[in-house]
Amino acid sequence: MITVTGLKKDFGDFQALKGLNMHVQAGEVYGFIGQNGVGKTTTMNILAGLSRPTEGECLIRGKDVTAVAHPGDLRVGYLPEEPKFYPWLTARETLLYLSEVPDNKRVEEILRWTGLVDGADRRVGGFSRGMKQRLGIGVALVRNPDLFILDEPSSALDPEGRSVVLRLIKDLKNMGKTILFSTHILDDIERICDTVGMINDGRMVFEKPLTQLQVEHAQPVLDMIPTVPIRPDVADALSKVVGVVSLTRSESSWAVRVAHPGVSLTVMSFLAEHGIAVESFAFRKARLEDLFLKEVSDK
């Protein structure tokens, strides 16, 4: 659906994108992660036809985005980070205005889908952030495009608002749409994404299906809270046990990263040998968060 090769974008002397590659398949939810200011919005602007690349190629459905005369011709449902509406129009009027052909039935459907029926005839100026975001997604859908580009759709919202937005994105996926969305909330990625692309410093760091990512990087972690303090020399010995990858201490608990779950047996016998009783001994999978922090610190 989207193929980006060697995308570069300069703002004066500042290089926002330094040769980004990206591949989004039709029908998937593609999560675009990265810290603030690494070029997520710039990439999405270029893909929505709002900004021109300095170098490189962006293809949407096989067509170059710079070849269209007007951003609207790309037929992309685009939602900017902070959607701006006319405060003196009502939600219904906004949707009708932004429709290709004014269609009351479709607008009614979208209002119901986004949960804005009650506020439909209120002026948008009085809407909360979450309502505006929902209206923005509704506006993106009103022309019924097959591709959606959503810039940080859930980031500025409270947990409830976020759930609603994530549900809407899931609905879009069930309608068979392709969705590219950016976020810095990793929980959102884990909840709805098929593929994750991580961008850092204007380049793609990795681009993998979420499941593969979880398998590859799912080094199990043993969390344990000993009843007695572990002496430094014992801790040193523990970290040298075969199968233990790393050992980190935070407050009273210890996180032991191990190569595979079987290592837990070795760790247990080590603890028994040194007479260390534990309050808790739990096994967890590494979360995307840990991975993200690791990738960022590695760079």
């Binding site: 703002f11 500042f14 926002a16 200011g37 919005t41 710039t42 602007n45 929505a48 709002l50 900004s51 021109r52 007007h70 951003p71 609207g72 011709d73 037929r75 992309v76 685009y78 900017p80 902070e82 959607p83 701006k84 509406f85 006319y86 003196w88 129009l89 009027e93 009708l96 205005y97 932004l98 429709s99 290709e100 004014p102 923005g136 506006v139 009103v142 022309r143």
Partner: protein, 252 residues
Amino acid sequence: MKSELQKEIRYALRSGRILILFASLLFLALLTPIMLKVVLPQVLGGEVNDLVMMTQRDCIRSYLGDVFEIGGIVIAFTLCGLTACELQGDTWLLPVCAGKRFGHMVGAKLLVFGTLQVILPVATLLVDYLYSSYLFGFEVGISAVLFSGILQSIYLVFFLSCLIMWGVFTRKPIPAGFLTLATAYGIQAISSLLRMQGWTPSGLLTQAMELNPTVDSSLLISLTVTVLLIVTTMRITMAKLKYMEWNERSAQ
């Protein structure tokens, strides 16, 4: 195009822009006759009064002058946000993504507010005409007044096109208003200095002041020049919009 027109009409009504323009113009229309009939004689005193005989013609002329000077300022700052606020507040972003054409969006503004620039000044001019005839007696024919009103309105449409163009260039409402005023008054000052008002939009105002409903060659020239200028400013606006990058981060 219909939805864009509807949106602009809603804006004009709901933001109170129509009311502001109408109230200000009406104020000028009612104030000028009073100034000339009541206040001026009081100020000047009896003897001078007999020398300066004010007529309805003077009154309407004075009103037309006021609309250019004071009305211009009011119009500039009432409508300065027409395009500037759309760009400053990014409200054009979603319509552009939704496939709205620049020509339609800007055209709707020119059409709706251009129509208002015809209706409102002509309506208030008629008020001024009737009111001054009540105070001074009928002197000028209604056709002459309507003719002058239309000429002035065409000038105001040019004024509006400047506002739209400067708004797109500055992206800020207040500078757009000042630049438009500078353009309008600049053209007026330079053309009267060089005695070439016939060749600029200001010629329309000079002709309107005559209160003489005849079409001659000099009027046709300034009319053509004005229309050409309106077309040019719109062309420049469109060209600027076409090569504009949207949703730029100010931080980057």
